[in-house]
Structures are given as structure tokens and as C-alpha cells.
């Protein structure tokens, strides 16, 4: 095992795929010579050249659509949208083009497109630079959506996304960019399947499902619950919002009888709602108590650190809510 930071795992994944398949190209604002605003694409332009690692103008709608056109005709474009909030600027190529073209052309094309972006809050970036919008895309047939929360998952899921013949949206977390973690050694071609959740901690008293940044918060809460209250929480990292692996969650709830979902996205019509709906539909009787969601309040993300701290779900809040219900 080697140790890498989240953004380094990103960089390694992209480098490996660029080297492996000459049809892989990278496009986006500042992905070229400058190496990206988070150093995420550093070195790739030098190694693979400006034809394959290409700076774009600020035209998200246009260059994502261009990437769709390129994907239809034989390339495997990997496209950066700097902040997840800017996905608002390229919804049409994602939803009406990439997601639908294979279906609506009767299978005449595949669209092996990867779009990645940095989302979530916690860095005081304010209302237009802190959002988590993954649920929108989980609603769209034809797309896949992954939310890696560790360097290992970044490496494995990003590489799988690039190799997938479908459009895949990789939602990375700004806040985790500098986080370190173990990854397979350099040289190992490591991939992870899209559409599988993982149990990060086992326990029999409650199932906590975390999304992205909230997996860490859930794990921290679980430790304190174990220490202070002898409550053993099972923590699941959902990893893919679409396809959603509900089997792993239901198997857990079968044992724990209790379910809590934590995410940074807003509650209404979010992935937490979807998980509760599926568990209710498929395993209603195993729930010993009402399931619930822990999310930010229904308001944009505030800039002020003191407000954003209160806004985002924390380990303390997760612990308290669970204690309040179980203790």
C-alpha cells in the first residue's frame, strides 16, 4: 500500500488512463499547462500534450456538448467542471444529450464520457460554490454518478468511470482534496465497480449511510457513540448515487432495524429520500423505528464560517441525534 492525497489519487488515475488508452482526452478550464486550480492535472499536459490535455474557454455548455460529440465518434473525453455548482451551466449536454443519445438513436452510439467536478462545502466558498447536486443526476436514466470519499475510492472509481461506456459523473469533494489515505501501489491497475456501496464500520444498533464528506463525520460519530453510549453503529459509504446499491443498505438494516442517512445535499428529493423510499418499499417491516435524514437546513450555503459550521451536518450532530433517538 502507498499513501496518497485525494487530489494525487485523482492525478494518478487520470495519468494511468491517459497512458493506457490513446482515445482518452482531458478538457476543461485550466486543466492544461497550469495543472489546475487544485494541482489536480499537474504534469498531464507536459506528458500527453496539448491535443489530448486541452484548456477550454469558459463555455461549459459548449465544451461538455463537444465532449459528447467526441464521445459519440470514438474518443473517451474526461471533462472538468471546476465547481459542482457550475453543472447548472451544462445540464443540457448532460441530461438531454449524453444521457439520452444511445437510447434515442436506438443503440447506434455509445457515449463514453466522464465529467468530474469538485463539490460539497466546508471551505467558506459561499452559496454558489458549495453545492452538492448529485441527486439531480441520479434521477436521469442513462447517467451514472459516483461520490468517492477516500483517495482509494477516487483512484478506483475514477478509473472505472473513464473506462465505462456510459456517461459517468464523478463528484469529488473540495474539502477532501488534501486528505491522505492508503491506495494500492503505483503500477497496480486498480479499479472499483460503479454501483456498489461499502460497509466502512460494522455495528448492530443502527445503520448510518453517509455520502462523500459525511462518511467521515458518520465514522467519527460512530466512534463516540461506541465509547460514550455503547451504541454500535454500522456505517455505509454509498459511493455511487446511481446505480444505487440498496442491497448493501437493506442487508444492514435487516440487522440493525434502524436507519439514518447523512448528506450535505438538501433533503427534499435527495439521495437520502431515495434510500428511505427504497428501504420502506422493500424492507418496511424490518425498520424498528422511523428512519431519518441529517442534512443542512433548507437554505443556501452561507459564507460565514460560523454559519457554515452550524449549517453542515457534523459528527457531533449525528451523534446527538442518534443518542436522542436510541439512548
Amino acid at each position: 500500500m502507498a499513501k496518497l492525497k485525494y487530489y494525487q489519487a485523482f492525478n494518478r488515475a487520470l495519468r494511468e488512463e491517459l497512458a493506457r488508452d490513446e482515445n482518452v482526452i482531458v478538457m476543461g478550464e485550466d486543466v492544461g499547462e497550469s495543472g489546475g486550480i487544485f494541482a489536480q492535472t499537474r504534469g498531464l499536459h507536459a506528458e500527453f500534450g496539448g491535443v489530448r490535455v486541452r484548456d477550454t474557454p469558459i463555455a461549459e455548455n459548449g465544451f461538455v456538448s463537444a465532449a459528447v460529440g467526441a464521445a459519440m465518434t470514438g474518443l473517451r473525453p474526461v471533462v472538468e467542471i471546476g465547481f459542482e455548482d457550475f453543472l447548472t451551466c451544462c445540464m443540457d449536454p448532460l441530461v438531454n444529450q449524453a444521457a439520452k443519445l444511445r437510447f434515442m438513436l436506438g443503440g447506434q452510439v455509445t457515449v463514453p464520457l466522464t465529467v468530474y467536478t469538485f463539490g460539497s462545502g466546508g471551505v467558506n466558498a459561499g452559496p454558489q460554490h458549495s453545492q452538492s447536486l448529485g441527486a439531480w443526476f441520479a434521477q436521469v436514466p442513462g447517467l451514472k454518478v459516483v461520490t468517492p470519499s477516500t483517495p482509494r475510492d477516487v483512484l478506483g472509481l475514477f478509473k472505472s468511470a473513464i473506462r465505462d461506456d456510459n456517461p459517468v459523473l464523478c463528484l469529488f469533494a473540495k474539502r477532501l482534496i488534501g486528505a491522505s489515505g492508503e491506495v494500492p501501489e503505483e503500477g497496480e491497475d486498480f479499479t472499483l465497480p460503479i454501483g456498489r456501496s461499502e460497509v466502512r464500520r460494522t455495528g448492530n444498533d443502527i445503520t448510518i449511510v453517509g455520502v462523500s464528506t459525511m462518511v467521515r463525520a458518520a465514522l467519527a460519530a460512530a466512534e463516540s457513540l461506541a465509547e460514550e453510549n455503547a451504541i454500535e453503529a454500522e456505517v455505509i459509504d454509498v459511493m455511487s448515487l446511481s446505480p444505487l446499491d440498496c442491497d448493501t443498505i437493506i442487508a444492514s438494516v435487516m440487522r440493525t432495524g434502524r436507519l439514518c442517512i447523512v448528506h450535505e445535499a438538501h433533503g427534499p428529493c435527495g439521495i437520502g429520500a431515495e434510500i428511505i423510499a427504497r428501504v420502506s418499499e422493500q424492507a418496511h417491516d424490518v425498520l424498528k423505528a422511523p428512519p431519518w435524514r441529517i442534512t443542512p437546513p433548507f437554505a443556501p450555503s452561507p459564507f460565514a464560517p460560523v454559519l457554515e459550521k452550524a449549517y453542515l451536518p457534523s459528527a457531533a450532530r449525528i451523534g446527538d441525534e442518534i443518542r436522542g433517538r436510541l439512548a
Binding site: F63, S65, A70, Q97, R102
Partner: protein, 320 residues
């Protein structure tokens, strides 16, 4: 005219007839209630589709709009499978999933009609990007309308294509209306092509009813693209004889306008030229008409007898 051989010219004439008969048949069947959904016809604009595609090889790409039958036929699409698609049959190009608005034959480089106005342009950028990255020598043509020229993606696409010197031609069919509103609602200039300097690319406005002018202008733009000199913008002034969609009452058209345009029928104009400058006999032209007409009748018969798709395939091709 030097560049156009008689054989090529006759092929173009055939293609124009094919489009005309195809769409007339579609209009008739739509009126009879045999075709579901919406259809958008390009009758009157045949010289654009044909003049453009006559300059392309099967390896070249085109991207199209909601008004794409002519583009698909001109690029080499099969009238039978196209008609079957309009009839929502399993034998259609997209097995009845897409219909008229998404008509496509990817095998001949027709990447699809599209229901989102403007998107043909960046999609065309993508096809040209593939050609550039792979060094395949292919070019792409993105069709669009004057209405689409007001969309942000039109600008983004032309800007990117210029910055990256892509092998691409932006081909605007300015057919005087965008849905129910005239050109002036959408473009504050006399010509869409006057925007070419804003992208440091050549721009030219031509008579879109003159198939030879379309062909010759395109030849130059395609040569430029293939040579690696970047994109061009061509605007063809044309006119749609029918409504925006079949069934459109067309109240927005001044009285007599369509009739006046019909008198300048691009097919008739080309036939005059074929007779006068290419020495083609009237009988040859009539034979072409008859053959194309009956081919379309065969396509309709094929489509009518073809089977419906079955609901068990509802989720086919959602994912690869």
C-alpha cells in the same frame, strides 16, 4: 461550375427529389394520422442538405437540427429505415425510440437530428475534435438555423472551433422563421454570416436555393477544414414551404409568400441548369423523378407493414 461533373450533378438532383418525395409522403401520412408526434419538414430547403453533403465523404460527419430528414437522406441514409422510424416502427433507425426529431444514421456519419435548438453546433465541434485528435482527415458540418444562432451554444461552439482550428463547417439554413417568429426577432443583422469575423473565420451568405452555389461554397470550406486551416461559417438564405411543424396554421407568414417562393423551387431551378448547362435531357430528369418517387412509395409501404416495437424493450439501450 467547373468542379461539378454531370454525374455528381445528377446524383444531387436525385437526392433533392428523394428528399422532396420523402417529405411530401411524410406530410400526407401525417395528415392521415398515420405518423405520431411532431414532424418538421424541410421542403423548399433541399438544395442546402444536398449541396452540403455532396462535398462530404461517408467518413465525414454531420450534426443536425429538429429539421433533419433532408440532412439524413443527403448524407446517405436509407429512406426505408427513416420512414419506418417516422412510423415508430422497430425497423426504424432508432427502433421507434427517437422518431423524426432524432433521425440518424451514424454509419454514414449522420450523427442525429436533435430536439434542442443549438446543440447541433457543439456536438459538431465534438465530431471535428475527434477528427483532429485522431488525425483522421475527416471534417464535420454542423447544420443550424437562424433561430439557433441566438443560442449561447452557437457562440461557444464557434469560439471553440476557431480557437482550436477544428475541421468544421457551420452551415446556417436561414429559412426566414424560427417557429412562429421572423428572422428579425432573432438576429439584429442582415446576415448571420456577418458574425464570422467575430470568430476570425471566413463567412459567406449565399442563395440557399441554388444547389450549385451551396456545393461550391462548401467545397472551399471543406478544403480549408481538411487542410487544417479551421472552421468556416456559411449562411444559406432559404425558405421552408411548410409550417414549423405539420399542422402549423402559419398565420405569421405574409399572404402569398409561400407561393412566391414555390415559384423559385430549388429543384426546378436546378433542373433548368441541368438542361441548359449540363446538357441533361428532360426525359432523364423525369425518369429520376419517377424512380425516386417510387422508391419513397416503397419506403412508405415498408414502414406501414413493419412491426411495432414491443414494450419489453422499454429499457433497452439506456445503458451500454
Amino acid at each position: 461550375m467547373s468542379k461539378l461533373t454531370q454525374q455528381a450533378a445528377l446524383g444531387m438532383h436525385r437526392a433533392m427529389c428523394r428528399i422532396r418525395y420523402f417529405e411530401e409522403a411524410a406530410a400526407a401520412k401525417y395528415k392521415e394520422g398515420e405518423l405520431p408526434g411532431f414532424i418538421h419538414l424541410s421542403i423548399g430547403q433541399e438544395a442546402c442538405a444536398v449541396g452540403v453533403c455532396a462535398t462530404l465523404t461517408p467518413e465525414d460527419y454531420i450534426t443536425s437540427t429538429h429539421r433533419g430528414h433532408g440532412h439524413c437522406l443527403a448524407k446517405g441514409g436509407d429512406a426505408k429505415r427513416m420512414m419506418a422510424e417516422l412510423f415508430a416502427k422497430e425497423a426504424g433507425y432508432s427502433q421507434g425510440r427517437g422518431g423524426s426529431m432524432h433521425i440518424a444514421d451514424v454509419a454514414v456519419g449522420m450523427l442525429g437530428a436533435n430536439g434542442i435548438v443549438g446543440q447541433s453546433m457543439p456536438l459538431g465541434v465534438g465530431a471535428a475534435l475527434t477528427a483532429q485528435v485522431k488525425g483522421s482527415g475527416a471534417v464535420a458540418v454542423a447544420f443550424f438555423g437562424e433561430g439557433a444562432s441566438g443560442a449561447g451554444v452557437a457562440h461557444e461552439a464557434m469560439n471553440m472551433a476557431s480557437l482550436w482550428r477544428l475541421p468544421l463547417v457551420f452551415f446556417c439554413e436561414a429559412n426566414r422563421y424560427a417557429e412562429l417568429t421572423p428572422y428579425e426577432t432573432h438576429v439584429p443583422l442582415a446576415n448571420v454570416a456577418d458574425r464570422a469575423p467575430a470568430y476570425d473565420m471566413p463567412g459567406v451568405t449565399i442563395d440557399g436555393g441554388d444547389v450549385v452555389a451551396v456545393f461550391e461554397t462548401m467545397e472551399e470550406a471543406v478544403a480549408r477544414a481538411r487542410a487544417g486551416h479551421g472552421p468556416s461559417l456559411i449562411e444559406a438564405k432559404t425558405y421552408r414551404w411548410h409550417g414549423h411543424y405539420e399542422g402549423d396554421p402559419q398565420k405569421y407568414k405574409p399572404e402569398g409568400e409561400t407561393e412566391k417562393e414555390k415559384a423559385r423551387d430549388p429543384i426546378m431551378r436546378f433542373e433548368a441548369l441541368l438542361r441548359e448547362s449540363f446538357g441533361v435531357a428532360a426525359a432523364g430528369l423525369e425518369a429520376a423523378h419517377a424512380e425516386e418517387k417510387s422508391a419513397i412509395e416503397a419506403a412508405v409501404a415498408f414502414a406501414e407493414q413493419a412491426v411495432d416495437p414491443t414494450p419489453d424493450g422499454l429499457t433497452a439501450n439506456v445503458y451500454a
